[in-house]
Amino acid sequence: MLSLPLSWYLMLSATLFVMGALGLLLRRNAIVAFMCVEVMLNAVNLTFIAFSKYHQDYTGQVFVFMVIAVAAAEAGIGLAMIVNMFRHKHSVQVDEATLLRH
């Protein structure tokens, strides 16, 4: 039953990660960009789980557990910041957050 090589999962993970990265780079809506970060986190989680199974070691899965906890905290704070930004600028366009540029 377990016949697929590890690299397939890794390549799936890489594909998802790059998609998330491209989304983060290209989408100007902060919330969507933020979702893309979640995609990237998930891609990394997939790698952890694949390796966990490959090595038959729990550590990877425990790490995923932690990543989900961090993602939850990050989502909470990140979204709060976006709400705040929207209050100030009435927009969530990433390229308008240039206050620190000048």
Binding site: A21, L24, L25, R28, V94, D95, A97, T98, H102
Partner: protein, 669 residues
């Protein structure tokens, strides 16, 4: 020549350090401290340094012993403060040395320096930059002490440059006045020309002698065999002439004397201390210090004697027609310095140093007296608007008269003895390359100078102190004798100028008076003896010596008499003479057009060079290529890097990912 014992003596460092500490203290805190404290610190540092100098010289004196050749030797006090630097085989120690020659110098510097500090308290009263003045003055004394105490020529050169800086700062002391500021610059630049030559001479010494320590150089010179001296002749002459060029700069000789008259722009105490008593004599000191080197090059000695004689005469002729009280004294200083160089040039280092000392006394006295007059007349310096001051300023008048008598060589005043020595040695020496004819020529030149000196000094005296007062009513009502702080140094210096000559009674007189010793000569013998031993002098017995002395006295008194005839009472002779010899008068008034000549040649040339450098180096290389080029390059790099830093989060993140990709490649490779 037997070895001179050297004793360790730590106090030497303190003599030099005290004025420096005073300068640092006043330089940092002076602006915020009360005036009395500033001047007390400055003059106090000088006073203590003077006392320490006396202690040091006394210690030196205590160590006297009889040398192998029957002369009294004193050894030397020595203190190595630290090793300055060591490059290859050259080791330069920051070493101080006190031998009879530097002993004379430090006594003059700290003693006269102290008197002038005290005098300045009165003279500079009310000046806004009081503290700055004392800071510079203390700094000058420090540098001057470095110059005379330094055993290593590098230390000496440090002092040499230091006095140049101090001189520049003090000439341009009232820098708001453009003319005074540029007088300072002129002094500095002209001095630099000479300093450069000194530097070259030091390099040559390093190459050929391998050391810059005077003690070691002396050993080196004494071990040279006649064959070696012949072989090294060109180099030795080059070294001596280069050193002498430095001396012409520092001591205002032809051709670099032009800065000294302008240097009178500085406050009068400065003129007295720096441009009469101490700094300008540094050249004479340097030659006396290195006499063992100079005697190896007859060419250089002849050059020094001729330049000295010519400078003495020409400066004296200019001095005759000057109307500014300080300018007269300035040209007189140049002239007297010429005398000193004549003395060392004819091999009588003793006479040079002796005249240096008496000159320090009477010229400091004259300058301070002039300062007192200027102070009393509210900064009037033109002697045509003075006259009759003897009733207003009796102390100044009498002390000034003593100074005039001393410089004129009036019998038994200090200048008489030293000038007589110089004349005698000029006439008697046989080593000048031009032979006896040159000796006679220089002797007559010196005699003429002595006459002119007496003439213009008493012209100055009569115009200033005798006759009717020619000042306007307003000034006249304000004329007053100077305060005690100024008159006291005058009196002390007058005593020294009057009687200072008795330490160097010439053999001809000493013999006639029953074997009085020439104290000064015996004292200096240790340093200058080996140099003088090189020379032979003609004339047996004292006949020609009496003749020379009589001629000198006659020319001095003749000059005084002529001055009295012309200026002692109202007379139109000078005016008539000036009209008859209008061309001569014009040339003299314009100082032989030397300044104009320099401006037309050196000045124009340097301006041209400067313009070329400005166009090529400054505008093209530095401005366009380096400054703007750098800016443009940075601008270009910036515009490249701005792609990375455009302030958008996503751009930054993109490069983070790029970095990750690159790292991954590198890890996998």
């Amino acid at each position: 020549m037997q070895d001179i014992p050297i004793y360790e003596f730590t106090l030497l460092g303190w003599i030099a350090l005290l004025p420096l500490l005073g300068a640092i203290f006043n330089g940092i805190l002076g602006a915020r401290l009360p005036r009395a404290l500033v001047s007390t610190v400055a003059a106090g540092a000088m006073g203590v340094a003077f006392i320490l100098s006396i202690v040091a010289v006394w210690t030196l004196f205590q160590g006297r012993f009889e040398g192998a050749d029957g002369h009294t030797l004193y050894g030397a006090l020595y203190h190595n403060v630290f090793t300055w630097f060591e490059v290859g085989s050259l080791r330069v120690d920051f070493e101080l040395l006190l031998d009879p020659l530097s002993a004379v110098m430090i006594l003059i510097i700290t003693g006269v320096g102290f008197l002038i500090h005290v005098y300045s308290i009165g003279y500079m009263e009310g000046d806004r930059s009081w503290w700055r003045f004392f800071t510079y003055l203390n700094f000058f004394v420090f540098a001057m002490l470095m110059l005379v105490l330094g055993d290593n020529l590098v230390v000496l050169f440090l002092g040499w440059e230091g006095v140049g800086v101090a001189s520049y700062l003090l000439i341009g002391f009232w820098y708001e006045d453009d003319e005074k500021a540029s007088a300072g610059k002129k002094a500095f630049i002209v001095n630099r020309v000479g300093d450069f030559a000194v530097l070259l001479a030091l390099f040559l010494l390093v190459i050929y002698a391998g050391s810059l320590s005077v003690v070691e150089l002396r050993e080196w010179a004494s071990t040279l065999s006649p064959a070696q001296v012949t072989a090294l002749g060109g180099v030795l002459t080059a070294i001596c002439i280069l050193l002498f060029i430095g001396c012409t700069g520092k001591s205002a000789q032809i051709p670099l004397f032009v800065w000294l008259p302008d240097a009178m722009a500085g406050p009068t105490p400065v003129s007295a201390l720096i441009h009469a008593a101490t700094m300008v004599t540094a050249g004479v000191y340097l030659i006396a210090r290195l006499n063992f080197l100079f005697v190896l090059s007859p060419t250089a000695m002849t050059l020094i004697a001729v330049i000295g004689g010519l400078t003495a005469f020409f400066a004296a002729t200019i001095g005759v027609v000057q109307n500014d009280i300080k300018k007269v004294l300035a040209y007189s200083t140049v002239s007297q310095l010429g005398f000193m160089f004549l003395a060392v040039g004819v091999g009588s280092f003793f006479a040079g140093v002796f005249h240096l000392m008496t000159h320090a006394f009477f010229k400091a006295l004259l300058f301070l007296g002039a300062g007192s007059v200027i102070h009393g007349m509210h900064h009037e310096q033109d002697i045509r608007r003075m006259g009759g001051l003897k009733d207003y300023m009796p102390i100044t008048r009498w002390t000034f008269l003593v100074g005039c008598l001393a410089i004129a060589g009036f019998p038994l005043f200090s200048g008489f003895f030293s000038k007589d020595e110089i004349l005698w040695y000029t006439l008697a020496n046989v080593h000048l390359l031009g032979g006896v004819n040159l000796s006679w020529f220089l002797w007559f030149l010196a005699l003429g100078t002595a006459f002119l000196t007496a003439f213009y000094m008493f012209r100055l005296y009569f115009l200033t102190f005798e006759g009717e007062c020619r000042a306007d009513e307003k000034t006249r009502s304000h004329i007053h004798e100077s305060p005690l702080a100024m008159t006291l140094p005058l009196v002390v210096l007058a005593v020294l100028a009057g009687f200072g000559g008795f330490v160097g009674i010439p053999p001809v007189l000493g013999n006639a008076l029953g074997g009085l010793p020439n104290v000064m000569h015996d004292w200096l013998y240790q340093v200058i003896g080996p140099g003088e031993a090189f020379f032979a002098y003609r004339f047996e017995g004292y006949g020609m010596a009496w003749m020379s002395m009589a001629a000198a006295t006659a020319s001095g008194i003749g000059g005084i008499a002529l001055a009295w005839l012309f200026y002692g009472k109202p007379s139109d002779v000078p005016g008539a003479m000036a009209e008859k010899a209008a061309a001569v008068h014009r040339i003299l008034s314009n100082k032989y057009y030397v300044d104009e000549f320099y401006a037309a040649t050196v000045g124009r040339g340097v301006t041209l060079l400067g313009r070329v450098c400005h166009r090529l180096v400054d505008e093209l290389l530095i401005d366009t290529l380096l400054v703007n080029g750098t800016a443009r390059l940075m601008g270009f790099l910036g515009s490249v890097l701005r792609v990375v830093q455009n302030g958008q989060v996503q751009r930054y993140v993109a490069f983070v990912f790029l970095g990750i990709a690159i790292i991954l490649y590198l890890v996998l490779r």
